[in-house]
């Protein structure tokens, strides 16, 4: 190759590599497998496991059984956690909260959720979920990756890998964590890690404060014009290297530095809520002015959705109410009810709800029997994997639907059981992805999010 053609080749190749990498990444060929209604997901993970009995699964007949030992015919010898396995009695603890019928469909919801009640016709309440895990970490890992032990890709990573990104200056998978007011269990970065998928598909955690993304801000004393010049010179030097080496990694690197530069502008712009109108804060509640709160993260979730982020996941900690449940669950609901409902309304009014799936739920349910002493006003609940509730909205999910039922004690599923794999398969279906065909070969095996199970629950899909 003579010098002229070499240069021409270089510049064309580089330009097109830049175009490829600078653009939103494309995802896998052949995906989506079919036209799905949803393009993105906002997953509101209620970390610690909210009590289905006090929020969603109305059991009026329990009142008269208050304090009575949970019948063995209901428990059927199923395993308990090590925290209550030694407990001498299992006193039935009906919820002390009132339930009301809401919306056109008459969905039963607890008085703790007055705002969710107002969007009842937009949400699909599932009361028949169950999981295999009985402790937090494996249970969260199971929801995030389809497997209880760490090491597999999280659902957001699967989607970033399969469907690619729709944004040129934001990651495809963004995570935000907020602190609740109750018992907090630990979270881990690996809950949004990419497992055996390349690490570029890992969730990027946005944090409250000056550096929403790690290392986003230039050092003190170094301004944007200096950074621009820096990158121009860096690009020149790297291009010289590319001419010599021809290694495409070099041009990718040049492109990634440019994306970094764009992120330095786009991320602060995204997280700057000062230009949001007053009505936004009214809708999401007073907490939404506090950076890092669940409410503020809900506003950010909407802004990320608007900017094309594929998978937005919020974790709100503090639902692990082994004791003082009535007091703590009220506090948690005060923080989460209004902003969660506001997100549904807000997306709807912007026309985004139809192609966004919102998911609200924890990692398992809680026991009908009290952990610790049951009093008139107080009780605690232990982990309960055998049944629990979640709600979904938007993105092709039927609104106003109450799906599945549990027995009189909300202990076992009575109708339409649905497990974590089914939820994943159904979410993927709404996104136009056949869960059987989104796979990655690792250690000789074709892995998928739904492991070796999963069934699309068509009843949920409109």
């Amino acid at each position: 190759m003579n010098d002229i053609t070499r240069r021409t080749f270089f510049s064309t190749a580089l330009a097109s590599l830049l175009a490829r990498d600078g653009q939103a990444s494309q995802g896998l060929p052949g995906l989506p497998h079919f036209a799905g209604k949803a393009k993105r997901v906002i997953y509101l993970f209620q970390h610690g496991a909210p009590s289905q009995l006090d929020l969603f699964d109305y059991k009026p007949n329990l009142t008269k059984l208050r304090g009575e030992n949970l019948p063995e015919s209901v428990r059927m010898g199923q395993r308990l956690t090590g925290m209550t396995a030694y407990q001498a009695k299992f006193p039935t603890a009906p919820s002390i909260f009132k339930f009301n019928q809401c919306g056109q469909s008459g969905m039963w919801l607890s008085e703790l959720l007055p705002h969710t009640a107002k969007v009842a016709d937009d949400i699909c309440l599932i009361r028949s979920l169950h999981t295999e895990a009985i402790n937090h970490d494996p249970a969260v890992t199971f929801f995030q990756t389809g497997f209880q032990l760490a090491g597999r890709p999280s659902i957001g990573s699967w989607l970033a890998y399969g469907l690619g990104s729709m944004s040129e200056d934001l990651p495809a998978f963004v995570v935000m964590v907020s602190q609740g007011k109750g018992g907090s269990q630990a979270l881990a970065d690996r809950q949004w890690a990419s497992g055996f998928l390349p690490s570029k598909f890992a969730g990027v955690k946005f944090r409250a404060g000056a550096d929403p993304v790690l290392y986003l801000s230039d050092p003190e004393g170094y301004d944007r014009s200096a950074r621009r010049r820096f990158l121009d010179d860096l690009s020149k030097l790297n291009s010289l290297k590319f001419r010599e080496q021809q290694d495409p990694e070099i041009s990718t690197r040049i492109a990634q530095y440019e994306m970094a530069f764009r992120m330095q502008a786009s991320v602060p712009d995204l997280t700057d809520l000062s230009k949001e109108p007053e009505s936004t804060f009214e809708m999401y509640g007073p907490d939404s002015r506090k950076p890092g709160s669940y409410a503020a993260n809900c506003v950010l979730a909407r802004r990320l959705a608007e900017r094309g982020v594929r998978f937005i996941q919020l974790f709100h900690r503090g639902w692990d109410q082994h004791s003082n449940l009535p007091r703590d669950i009220r506090l948690q609901c005060e923080q989460t009810d209004q902003p969660s409902a506001a997100l549904v309304r807000d997306l709807k009014q912007r026309g985004l709800l139809e192609d966004t799936i919102i998911v609200w739920g924890g990692e398992f349910g809680r026991t009908v029997y009290s952990q610790g002493t049951l009093t008139e006003t107080d009780y605690g609940r232990d982990h309960h994997p055998r049944c629990f509730s979640m709600w979904l909205a938007g993105g092709g999910i039927k609104g106003g639907l109450t799906y599945g039922a549990t027995d009189d004690f909300s202990y076992n599923i009575a109708q339409d059981a649905m497990d974590v794999h089914d939820l994943h398969a159904t979410m993927l279906h709404c996104l136009g992805v056949d869960h059987l065909r989104l796979t990655f070969k690792f250690q000789g095996r074709h892995y998928r999010l739904t492991d070796i199970q999963g069934r699309v629950v068509r009843a949920l899909v409109s």
Binding site: I134, R190, D223, R253
Partner: protein
């Protein structure tokens, strides 16, 4: 551009088109990937008649139809079905998610047409050492590796590249062997040495550097899932760095890889196992441990063993054994039963499924560092010297003692008791008749409280000793509990008259409880003593009645959290007779150490020294004699003897205190009674099936002659030359370190689903060479880095990149981004900041604030290290599993949750932000800037050249210099422009700049240095 993309798509490695179809290379991968899922080793479970994983089965007559008919694709059912136009008949079925490409169908047809020759899976055959092939191109090959590489290149019609420049080569080999770039003086010395063998000498120097062991250890830490925390939810701290030290040391000492393997798998079982050999077995204890409240321990006990199986099989055998956990392996000849037989080798550890919430979980060993061992030896020497002094004075002492005994016969009563580490002594002289003076009488409602003693937690050692005369049989003698005998704390109880020592955090899910065989009869005096060694285990307790050990039955042994857990506390002080104790008690003594048996025996004497002295010597018990002796030495012996005796006690106390500072390390051990292993149905802990014995898969060779059928025999089997996998898998991983990808790219999987080797004969040659050399790892590394293949320039052409994008054929030298650790270590090294210290506990370098707090539970925060510890090599960075060091995670390091052997490299904007703005790199740039100004001469050009050399190991080109000059000028102007900018910029990082350097200039050079650190070349091995 489209043309380039098309080329990229067309490149495939196996070159089957020109030559005949080869089963292992061309056919097996298709059958395995697309068919074995159903028609493989697990077919029977799915009730599928046809199996394609064995020749006999695939060619068998199944009712008139045969899947494979040699020479006749048309009559082969396999071909009919994969080409069937009928959707319902066509294989693979739609629902499997698999499809065959037309090339794959063509390959299968050709294979059958050519006679359907079968081969056993290559990786299970013993490696065959073929002589290095003849090559047409003379003069290029430097060692046998090159013959194999060149033969393939010639076959492909490619030529090797020219040798890389000497600067590039030195940087490449320095990074590969030490993980650090060469210093300017090393570069200068190397460039000056133009004599033959200069490169080889550089290799020798690098292999001898202590940095070599650190570099090799990093990847081994990934494989062994090393971390400083337990993982899972709470993710508390553990200390396994003594194991890490062992690994570094082993690499530096070039411990032969077979011995390296043997010690890590079964060092504890070697005859006369040394401390180091025990520490080595930490390899199989580096897995995660769950401490979550409420787990079912049996469930996780299974996970730990499975992790050992998966890790050991991936690291040494390149097998995905874990697939056999729930069912027969879908691809490889490993049945579910064989999985559990393999599992049985690792299932005999005396361990609990619930790990200790803080610190190491048993089994463990006190693991003093070499420095500590030295000091321990020094103390032992001084003890010996002091004992010699005592022996020298013995005659004089004997005389003095006789006189003293005579004297005390008639004196006021005196009692002996140990004084070392006495935490509190309570004579309880309250007027009731006692044993040692008078005693206290209790009516069940009059406990005595004290805050002066007994403030122990579960990891403290203690001893409690007292005389008791109980009138109750269900009561508590003493201890420190909350409001009830089942509340948090510790205490010695009577239950139906049986003595019951207890330590409780939460009854009964987090507690130790034991019960004596013997019962205490009411109304009789007993001496009782309870010792505890701080191990948190039931086995760490001992109980003595009247000076003799009594048998204890363990009722509960699942203590895992300290009293101080998560802000919890014991609500009451140490209390004597806290719950319902009626009767008398006398002379309670609390020690903060484990009393020796002889001391307890003597404490239980109950006679005054005066009485003993008054009795004839022959009538004295051994314990009584000892009492006299000890009291005399303590109080009445001649000055010289007493001084030596006190000195001896002080030294023993010093040793005891010192021993408590030793780090511990988790190790493998065998339960005295072999634990039973069952096949677990669907892999579930609570669904045991048939019981199995330890054993090896039938597809692999048997245990070597004479090897025991336990973990030790297993380890010997791993390193037996008959094992077809260990040497291959190991050299392949070393190859990956050097060349970027393994000869078998799937370094973790040599099974049927693994990739066919790019150079199968080279792999076998290297494997046999490794064994032949005595498993000499340094020699193997030397062989690789001195090959001509390695020394090639990494410059590529678009054609070559299109032809071989991953550089598997090695028509050019390796070029790829550095692993995370090297990215950081190189920057620190160029800055002159790197701390050259080997080994020791993990450190906590810069990390953005609050990262742990946001995710974890209450009581563990990241406390950043200071001074030199900020700049240690990255393998010493504290690794918290749930919140990995962010820079490491950004640069694709293994996350240490589970074994990782495949290296991964991505290229992301987060890496760019990390390099530009992380204080680690901003500060490093500042120091490079400082070095440019101080070492780089007076003029700007030579300073720029110096900085460039520090970072890239070479001199810049003219066009590069032009950019650098412009950049420097820009930054000089920029920092001159506004007051305070330079000062602010220079403030980053904890080590201040040289105050003599003008701020504006330094800031400008630092900015240029940052530019250099951000170069693709700076983070790339070229």
């Amino acid at each position: 551009m489209p043309a380039l993309l098309v080329l990229l798509v067309l490149v495939t490695l196996p070159a089957g088109a020109q030559t005949g179809v080869e089963f292992n290379r061309d056919v097996r991968p298709i059958l395995s990937d697309k068919c074995f899922g159903c028609h493989g080793p697990d077919a029977a479970n799915k009730k599928i008649a046809l199996r394609l994983d064995s020749e006999a089965a695939a060619k068998a007559d199944l009712g008139g139809r045969r899947a494979v008919v040699e020479g006749s694709p048309e009559s082969s059912e396999l071909i009919r079905r994969i080409t069937s136009a009928h959707k319902g008949l066509r294989m693979p079925p739609l629902a499997s998610g698999h499809t065959l490409t037309s090339e794959q169908i063509e390959t299968l047809k050709r294979w059958i047409a050519e006679g359907a020759k079968w081969q056993k899976h290559w990786a299970l055959l013993t490696p065959v050492r073929r002589p290095p092939p003849e090559v047409r191109t003379g003069g290029w090959a430097k060692n046998p590796i090159d013959h194999f590489i060149l033969e393939r290149l010639e076959k492909e019609g490619l030529k090797p590249s020219a040798e890389a420049s000497r600067e590039t080569l030195l940087r490449r080999v320095s990074l590969d062997l030490t993980g650090l770039p060469p210093s300017p003086s090393e570069i200068e010395a190397f460039l000056k040495d133009e004599s033959a063998g200069a490169y080889e000498r550089a290799v020798t120097r690098l292999l001898a550097s202590p940095r070599y062991g650190e570099r090799m250890a990093i990847r081994w830490l990934d494989a062994a899932r090393y971390a400083d925390t337990n993982g899972y939810q709470f993710d508390g701290e553990r200390t396994m760095w003594r194991w890490r030290d062992w690994v570094i040391q082993a690499f530096n000492a070039n411990k032969p890889f077979d011995q390296f393997t043997l010690e890590q798998i079964a060092g504890d079982l070697l005859p006369g196992a040394t401390l180091d050999q025990k520490i080595a077995t930490g390899f199989n204890r580096n897995h995660r441990g769950n401490t979550e409240d409420g787990i079912i321990p049996e469930e996780y006990a299974v996970e730990y063993v499975v992790d050992r199986v998966e890790t050991t099989s991936a690291v040494f055998l390149g097998l995905t054994m874990g697939c056999g956990r729930c069912h027969n392996h879908k691809y490889d000849p490993i049945t579910q039963k064989e999985f559990y037989q393999f599992y049985a080798y690792f299932n005999n550890v005396p361990e609990s499924g619930r790990a200790m919430k803080y610190g190491n979980s048993p089994p463990l060993v006190a693991a003093p560092t070499p420095d500590q061992q030295e000091r321990l030896n020094a103390i032992a020497r001084r003890i010996g010297e002091t004992e010699a002094v005592l022996a020298g004075n013995a005659a004089e002492a004997r005389r003095a003692r006789a006189a003293w005994e005579e004297k005390i016969k008639s004196g006021a009563p005196v009692y002996w008791a140990p004084e070392v580490m006495l935490d509190g002594a309570f004579p309880l002289d309250f007027g009731s008749p006692g044993v040692v003076g008078s005693a206290a009488s209790f009516d069940g409602r009059n406990p005595i409280d004290t805050n002066a003693a007994g403030q122990f937690d579960i990891d403290d050692r203690f001893s409690l000793s007292a005389w008791v005369r109980p009138d109750c049989s269900d009561c508590t003698l003493f201890g420190r509990h909350g409001a009830t005998p089942r509340a948090r704390g510790f205490g010695l109880h009577l239950e139906s008259g049986k003595l019951s020592p207890r330590i409780i955090n939460v009854w009964e899910s987090d507690a130790t409880k034991m019960e004596s065989d013997a019962r205490l009869e009411p109304g009789r005096w007993y001496h009782v003593a309870w010792t505890y060694d701080g191990s948190k285990m039931a086995a760490g307790h001992a109980l003595f009645v009247d000076g003799r050990p009594v048998k204890l039955e363990t009722k509960q042994d699942n203590l895992y959290r300290p009293f101080r857990n998560a802000g919890a506390k014991v609500s009451l002080p140490f209390r004597i007779a806290p719950f319902n104790f009626t009767g008398r008690m006398d002379d309670l003594r609390v020690y903060s150490r484990v009393l020796e048996t002889e001391e307890i025996e003597s404490l239980a004497v109950g006679r005054s020294l005066n009485e003993i002295a008054a009795s004839p010597e022959a009538a004295r018990a051994r314990a009584e004699q000892r009492q006299l002796e000890w009291y005399f030495l303590d109080h009445a012996s001649p000055d010289a003897t007493r001084a030596a005796w006190k000195q001896l006690a002080a030294l023993k106390g010093e040793r005891e205190e010192f021993e408590r500072t030793f780090p511990t390390s988790m190790i493998m051990a065998e339960s005295p009674v072999r634990k039973r292993t069952h096949i677990l149905n669907r892999g579930q802990y609570d669904r045991p099936g048939e019981e199995v014995e330890p054993g090896l898969p039938a597809a692999l060779p048997p245990l070597p002659e004479g090897a025991p059928n336990n973990r030790l025999g297993f380890a010997k089997w791993l390193i037996d030359p008959a094992n077809p996998l260990t040497a291959r898998v190991t050299v392949n991983r070393l190859w990956q370190m050097v060349f970027g990808a393994g000869l078998v790219k799937t370094v973790e999987d040599f099974g049927q689903q693994g990739e066919w080797p790019s150079h199968p004969e080279l792999l076998d040659w290297l494997a046999t060479e490794f064994v032949r050399s005595g498993w000499d790892t340094k020699a193997m590394m030397r062989l690789m880095v001195t090959s001509a293949a390695y020394r090639q320039s990494s410059q590529a052409t678009p054609d070559l990149i299109a032809r071989d994008p991953e550089n598997r054929l090695l028509a050019r030298g390796p070029r790829f981004r550095l692993p995370a650790e090297m990215v950081r270590d190189s920057a620190l090294s160029a800055a002159g900041l790197l701390t050259a210290k080997t080994g020791g506990p993990s450190v906590k370098p810069y990390q953005p604030e609050g990262l742990w707090k946001e995710l974890i539970m209450q009581d563990m925060d990241y406390v950043q290290s200071k001074g030199a510890d900020l700049y240690r090599r990255s393998l010493y960075t504290f690794w918290k599993r749930t919140v990995a060091p962010p820079m490491m995670a950004n640069f694709d390091s293994a996350l240490r949750e589970a074994c990782t052997v495949r290296e991964s490299r991505t290229n992301t904007p987060l890496q760019a932000l990390n390099m530009m703005n992380d204080v680690t790199f901003v500060e490093a740039a500042r120091f490079i800037g400082q070095r440019m100004m101080k070492e780089g001469g007076a003029d700007a050009d030579s300073r720029l050249r110096h900085g460039f050399l520090l970072v890239t190991g070479r001199a810049p080109s003219a066009s590069e210099m032009e950019v650098l000059r412009g950049n420097l000028r820009y930054h000089l102007d920029y920092f001159a422009g506004a007051a305070g900018k330079a000062e602010a910029y220079l403030k980053q990082g904890e080590t201040p700049p040289d105050p003599k350097l003008p701020a504006r200039d330094l800031a400008a050079y630092a900015s240029v240095a940052s530019l250099l650190l951000n170069l693709d070349e700076a983070i790339t091995k070229e």
